[in-house]
Amino acid sequence: MIDEKFDVIVVGAGPAGNAAAYTMAKEGLKVLQLERGEYPGSKNVQGAILYADALEKIIPDFREDAPLERHVIEQRMWMLDDNSYVGMHYRSEDFNEEKPNRYTIIRAQFDKWFSRKVRDAGAVVLCETTVTELLRDTRGKVIGVRTDRAGGTIMADMVVLAEGVNGLVGQRAGLRKELKPDAVALAVKEMHFLPRETIEARFNLKGNEGVVIEIMGTVTNGMTGTAFIYTNQESLSVGIGCMVSDFVKSDTSPYALLEAFKNHPSIKPLLAGSEIKEYAGHLIPEGGYKEIPELYGDGWLVVGDAGHFVNAVHREGSNLAMTTGRIAAETIVWLKRRRDPFIADNLAEYARRLEQTFVMKDMKKYKDIPNFLHAKADTVFGLYPRLISKAAQTWFRVDGVDKRTKEKEILQSFRKGRTLTGLIGDAFKLARAWR
C-alpha cells in the first residue's frame, strides 16, 4: 500500500484517459494514470482518423508536434458487390486549409505523443500496471484502486474509468454489464507498407494529402459491418469489422473476411506490391445510445469506449472519447474548486454537461440505427449493393437496348429483389431512425 494519496486516478491511457488526465493535471490536480499496456498505445487499435476539433479543444497547438500522417482531402464512400463498386467521392481544395479538420494517424505513435503531453502537464503515468479492483469505503464510495504490482494499493478521491471497450474493472465492480455480442463489433486491420511515391501516385495525392475510403457491401457476407482503407505517409491501413453476434451466427472468421476484402477486384490493385507488417484486432462498442451504462457514481465516472461512446454511422469514436474525457475532467476540476465532494449527486453535472455537447446529441439522434441495420443486415449490406451495382451497370452498358426499357429493367430488378412495401418500409424506417 502506498501512503501517498492522489486527487484522481485515471484508469487507461487511450484518447479518453489521456484527455482527462491532461486536462486535470494542467489545472493542477494531482493525477495518477495507470495503463496496463507496455507503453501508452500498445494496446490501442484504431483505423485511424483523428478529428482535429476534439483534440484542439484540449491541446490547441497539437499540430506543432503531434505525429500526424496525412490530412484528409478526399473522402470516398463505396458500395461493393462481388465484382464492382459504386462510389461517391468528395474531394476539395478547401481541406488543404491551414488547420485541417481530419488526419490519418498511427495510434502507437500518436498515443505516445499524447502521453508525453500528459506527463509534461504533471500527471504521474505508470504503464504495465493493471488495475484489478476498485476500493470502496463502508458506504460504497470508491476511494482508490488495487493493482497487480506488489504493494500496489493506492487511494484517491476520484477514479476515472477510461479503460476501453472491455471495461473489466467497471464490470467486476458491478458498475456496468458485460458487453452484449450484438452491441459490439469486432474489427481487424492490417498495415500495408508502400513507398510514399506509390501511395501518392495511386491515390492522386501530393505532399501530406490523404484519402479515406469507407466501404460497405457484399464483402461483409450480409453481416452488419463496414471496411476501410486509409492512406498514411508510407502505409495503408486496411480493415474490416462486423458485429460480434453476426460473426458468431455466420461462423465466419474476421481474418477470412479481410482476405476476401483484400482480394476484391476493386481493392486488390490499391494494395498491389505492399508489404503487410502488422495485424491487429479490436472490439468497437457499436450498440449506440441504448447501451450507454451508468456514467457516474460515488467517487467514479466513466469516459470513452468504456461508456459506449461511439457513433458507428459516422465512424466516430476517438473524438467522442476525447470529448467525454475532457468534460469529465472539467467537471472534476470544477467540483474540486468548489470543494464539493465527489458524490453521485454532484457528479451528475458530468452527464448534464455531456447533454450539451455533440456527443449526447449525436448518440441520441442515431439511437435507433443499430437496431435498424441489424434487423435489415441482409438487405442493407447484401441486397441493396447488388441491386444498385446492377442498376449502374444496366445504365452504363451500351448494348442497343433503348433507355426506357433499361429504366424498366432497373425498376423491375428492385421490385423483384424486394417488394414495393418492403422498399418503402426500409426507406421509411431508415428515415425515422436517422431523424
Binding site: 501517498e4 504490482r149 506488489a150 502505409s235
Partner: protein, 284 residues
C-alpha cells in the same frame, strides 16, 4: 557496492522492416525495447545490490528518446539513470561507443563512486558484435569476464568474484578481482516486476542527461561517425531461396545405421568431402 549497468535501446528486431525498394532499414514506427541481453545484466545487478546493498546506476548512449528505456530500467528498481546524448555521438561504431561510454563511466565514478562491477549484455540484437563490453573493459583497464552464465560467489572482503563462463565445449569456472566488467548470457535469470513504489519513483525520477562536454569526453574526433572506422558497405534483405529437401532412407533405426546412411549419402554427393575425411582419418 556500486554497480553500473550499460544498456542500449534497440529496435524490436521482431518488428523491423526493410524498405521494399531501397533495402534500407525503416525505423519509423518500429517500437524500441531495451536490448534483451542488457535486461539480464540489469536483473543480475539488482540481485547483487538487494543481497549486498549499494546502488545500481544504469547508463546508456543514444538519442534523446532512449530516456524511455532508462525510465523503464528505473521501474525495475535501478537507483539512478544516466543518458549520454549528443549529436557528436551519432553514427558511432563499437570503437567510438566504447570510447564515449568509458569516459562516461569515469564521470559516473566521480559523481557516485567507483564502480565495483560494470555489467553489459553479451551483445545487442541490432549490432550483434559483442565488442562494446570488452572495449570498455580494455579502456578502463578492468578485468573482464565475458559470456558469464552464473555469478557463483562475490566476496566483498577479499574483493574477489567467481563466475561460470560458457565456453566452447564446456563451462569454465573463473575467479577474478574487482573491479570487473561482466557480460552476461541470456536465460540466466528472469527480469523482476518492479513494485508500485519503484514504479512511482521511476515515473518521477529525473534522468541525468549528459552531452559530450558534461561527460568529460576529451577528444570529440574519436566520437560518432568521425571516430568510427567501421564502414557499412551494403544493407540488403536476403531473398527467398528454393532448396530441395532430400529424404535419406535407412535400413534400421539404430544410431549407427542412421549415421552410416547419412554419411553414405553425403559422400555420394560430395566425393571431395569423402577424400578429405578419409585422409584425416588415416592421419589419426
Amino acid at each position: 557496492m556500486h554497480i553500473i549497468v550499460c544498456i542500449k535501446q534497440v529496435p524490436d528486431s521482431a518488428q523491423i522492416r526493410v524498405h521494399p525498394v531501397t533495402n534500407t532499414i525503416m525505423r519509423q514506427g518500429v517500437p524500441t525495447i531495451i536490448n534483451p541481453y542488457d535486461l539480464v545484466a540489469l536483473e543480475e545487478a539488482l540481485r547483487l545490490r538487494d543481497r549486498l546493498g549499494g546502488s545500481v546506476t544504469v547508463l546508456t548512449m543514444g538519442p534523446p528518446t532512449a530516456e524511455d528505456s532508462l525510465r523503464k530500467a528505473l521501474t525495475f528498481g535501478a537507483d539512478r539513470a544516466v543518458l549520454l546524448t549528443d549529436r557528436y555521438f551519432a553514427g558511432s561504431d563499437t570503437l567510438a561507443t566504447s570510447y564515449a561510454l568509458a569516459h562516461a563511466i569515469k564521470k559516473v565514478a566521480e559523481m557516485w563512486g567507483e564502480p565495483d562491477i560494470v555489467f553489459t549484455g553479451k551483445q545487442t540484437i541490432d549490432g550483434d558484435t559483442a565488442q562494446v563490453g570488452p572495449g570498455i573493459a580494455k579502456r578502463l583497464k578492468l578485468n573482464q569476464l565475458t559470456y558469464v552464465s552464473a555469478i557463483k560467489e562475490l566476496d566483498m572482503d577479499s574483493r574477489t568474484l567467481t563466475v561460470e563462463r560458457r565456453a566452447e565445449g564446456g563451462v569454465q569456472v573463473l575467479k577474478t578481482r574487482l573491479p570487473v566488467l561482466i557480460t552476461v548470457l541470456e536465460g540466466i535469470n528472469e527480469m523482476r516486476r518492479g513494485t508500485m513504489e519503484a514504479a512511482l519513483n521511476a515515473a518521477r525520477a529525473q534522468v541525468t542527461i549528459w552531452n559530450a562536454t558534461d561527460a568529460g569526453i576529451p577528444e570529440l574526433t574519436l566520437c560518432g561517425l568521425r571516430g568510427s572506422p567501421t564502414v557499412v558497405k551494403k544493407v540488403f534483405a536476403p531473398g527467398a531461396r528454393t532448396e530441395k529437401a532430400h529424404q535419406i532412407e535407412t535400413k534400421g533405426l539404430s544410431p549407427a545405421e542412421i549415421a552410416e546412411a547419412a554419411l553414405a549419402e553425403i559422400f555420394q554427393r560430395q566425393p571431395a568431402v569423402e577424400a578429405d575425411v578419409m585422409r584425416n582419418a588415416e592421419s589419426i
